[in-house]
Symmetry: C2
Subunit: 471 residues, 2 copies
């Protein structure tokens, strides 16, 4: 709990109603989308505008109290768990679309804006904002920026980073900074915009963002290819890219995921397949038809057992919705679902799936794998039970070995979920000690008192790279 | 000149031949593509590989000697002038394409590789590397990364930043760092890759880069639209974008530039036009034909005096080459050519051209304007004479006012040339004092002894924003 005079100051900024520290508010903001992590904050605050964010930050800075900014807390890395207490700042009141500029094809929005709502709004104006994280129905643009969210369309269209061209943010001092603008090109100094994207709330509180919009594709086509041999699916992914085709979406589901998704979405998927690829191409009709025809040929040449192109937009939407339901469907299996995002060069997808299966077997845990195959961004997902400590240890040991395998294949510990708490002990594996040192220097420069989302990104100790079988 | 024992150490690393401090070598590396700036280094060194770069850096760090890494020195911001002496490190021996990975569509290259040669090489493999700075026939990939180079294809395809996905670099300590990789998605920690791109040699020496390649467009079409009214041209630019068309290239040339380019390239351009737009669209035939037809209609609706579509690839190439010759052509007019890159939101092109013309008139200087209209990235170019101090003062005062006008229109002081020496006094206008502070904190973290390209990016004093008419 904060001292009374701090609370008084905070309430004088946001109003009595918008600072809370009743137990219900504290518990509600003690966790996020990541399983098995919980820590109570001292208070929860709901600022109405940038000035309030700045004033709150100044007070917290003066009293050396941590600030954890968050949107809907859908992240999967423990990114918004207040591990060192402090004040959780919920951005939901700052949820407006400030402008859509049709001449410059930009939108300026507040961080608490819901992602899906924003995507739908710009679609209504005949424009396109591609980043579509799995959580988009609930997530906020500010949270997407903090984590540099990806999604199903990342392969062709890139991730959140590629669409953020300007930011307003509040620094740890309470000062307000503006980076970039409605500019397609800007090399005035170091790129603070791209640095803040994906900085997980550890460098500044984002209070406004200018986003690039693009013309929407005119036409799209969706298809499914099913394989009895998982490597046929993986080779198909490589061959598509090698053939200079970049589909909008190129998703992979392994057999356990297929069965679970089918139970959930009732699509009548063949349950004996080892892998399914869900492929979507968009663009002009001519190029889409050509690409889909080429992809069909590649699928057949890799011995796909069945290849089918969606007959209608409804059917295509049904398939995409089914894929989007994978996490939800898996979550029904057992009490605890741990979804990871080890990522490898896209040519290494088959090797990575092999490794995941070998490791799951070794530790006797259930891991289903699905994800963005075209990006090399897989989601090995363990279904387990947090109450079974012994099993959880085996799951953790398995993931540790999966991260190590990803690094060995030239990959990374996280493709789109972020480091947060969960990956912090593994960050050094990817970026090396010199990388950690430079990142810490940046953190130190921005936030010398370590008030912004402390305890995230950097672990007290890096995990040793020798995996100890704790099972 | 360096002490004898330092030179001995440096020569023992790179060999006798590859450290030079004869007057010819020093003078040759005392300037770059930027007019009127010159400062002698103490020595020039040519490393053969990353290990040598690291060893050299360690020696220089020990003796507190500045290091200025450079490629071909084509930059236009004084970015590689050794203003505080020290050792210029020329990357030309590290000029190999290490790998083109056809499965992952990436290339791994050394920094001294020539840009044009790289583009041509990957084109031969049926791939596409879009960044095409005006200097690409001479420039290096390392230099392009240091400055985040743009080019004519930036509008549709983005700039260097959008294609660098992994780096190897040597830090001021001599330590070697690796960022990113052959990964389309990677959120492991702060994005050091994008931070190093455009950091102008002030944070690290880039020794290797992994670049993203894309499938090339199958078809392209080039057209010219000529206007008696400059605002008709500007409105055309806005209308094209508003109509959800993003051309590959959308270039603007004003009347003085048209005349000079025509004298140089002998295209028979109509010399009485106030503005020409050079437009190229690429992609599939269907979409290119549709876009070009729409653009033609827009041009006519904005009272273009003449609209013509190139009949052949040769004719299109001739037009693009003429545009690319603008700088060279202007440089023939008078002894000194100062080319700037004030950039505004693309909807503000007309306002910016108006401002440039007003300011040129006010200071009685000759400024021709051309550039990447679709990006809002204009190149107001003064033709002057460095020996005429009085005129040069007027030119400088005019540019100061042009930068101020760009900022007022929501723009930036530099769209693609970088800050270097030339824009350093103006950086604060764009990023504010808090922005400067954060950038300095990053610099301090990476290079606490200020050895890497010192004197760049940050000015001792910011220019006051009140422009004094020194004419």
């Amino acid at each position: 709990m904060l001292q009374e005079d701090v609370k008084r100051e905070l309430r004088s900024i946001v109003g009595n109603e918008d600072y809370k520290d009743d137990m219900q508010s504290l518990v509600t903001h003690s966790y996020d989308g990541t399983p098995m992590l919980q820590s109570l904050p001292d208070g929860v605050i709901y600022p109405a505008d940038t000035r309030e964010v700045s004033e709150v930050m100044k007070v917290l800075n003066r009293y050396r109290i941590p600030l954890i900014s968050r949107g809907s807390g859908t992240n999967l890395c423990g990114g918004t768990v207040p591990v060192q207490g402090g004040v959780v700042m919920v951005m939901h009141r700052m949820n407006r679309i400030l402008e859509v500029d049709l001449e410059n094809l930009t939108a300026t929005v507040q961080p608490g804006l819901n992602t899906k709502q924003f995507i739908t709004h710009v679609e209504g104006l005949g424009l396109f904002y591609p980043p579509d994280p799995g959580s988009m129905a609930v997530s906020t643009i500010g949270g997407n920026i903090a984590e540099c969210s990806g999604g199903l369309r990342g392969l062709k269209y890139g991730t959140t980073k590629d669409y953020v061209i300007g930011l307003e943010a509040v620094l740890a001092s309470g000062e307000i900074i503006r980076t970039g603008g409605k500019l397609m090109k800007d090399v005035a100094g170091y790129d603070l915009t791209k640095l803040l994207v994906g900085s997980e709330g550890t460098l500044a509180v984002i209070t406004e963002a200018t986003l690039k919009l693009i013309p929407p594709p005119r036409y799209k086509k969706t298809m499914l290819a099913m394989y009895k041999d998982i490597y046929g699916a993986a080779r198909t992914v490589s061959k598509i890219i090698e053939n200079r085709i970049i589909p909008a979406t190129l998703e992979f589901l392994d057999n356990p995921t297929i069965r679970v998704v089918d139970d959930f979405a009732k699509l009548g998927l063949p349950r004996d397949m080892e892998a399914i690829l869900l492929i979507e191409q968009d663009g002009d009709m001519e190029s889409v038809e050509r690409d889909i025809a080429s992809i069909e040929m590649i699928c057949h040449s890799e011995n796909a057992a069945q290849v089918s192109v969606a007959e209608s937009a409804e059917e295509a939407l049904k398939l995409m919705t089914a894929r989007r339901s994978a996490f939800t469907a898996l979550a029904r299996l057992r009490p605890t679902t741990i979804l990871e995002d080890a990522t490898v060069p896209r040519s290494k997808i088959a090797d990575m799936v092999l490794e995941i299966n070998r490791i799951a077997q070794k530790f006797q845990v259930q891991i289903c794998t699905f994800g963005h195959a075209g990006d090399g961004n897989l989601h090995p997902t363990a279904t387990t039970d947090a109450r079974d400590q012994e099993e959880i240890h085996r799951v953790e040991a398995a993931f540790e070995e999966i991260f190590e395998a990803a690094i060995k294949l030239g990959g990374t510990i996280t493709g789109e979920h972020g480091v947060g708490l969960v990956k912090a002990p593994f960050l050094e594996w990817k970026v090396g000690s010199a990388g950690i040192e430079m990142m810490k220097a940046i953190k130190q420069g921005f936030d010398p008192l370590n008030l912004l989302n402390p305890g995230k990104m950097f672990a007290k100790e890096s995990r040793k790279r020798v995996v100890i079988d704790r099972g």
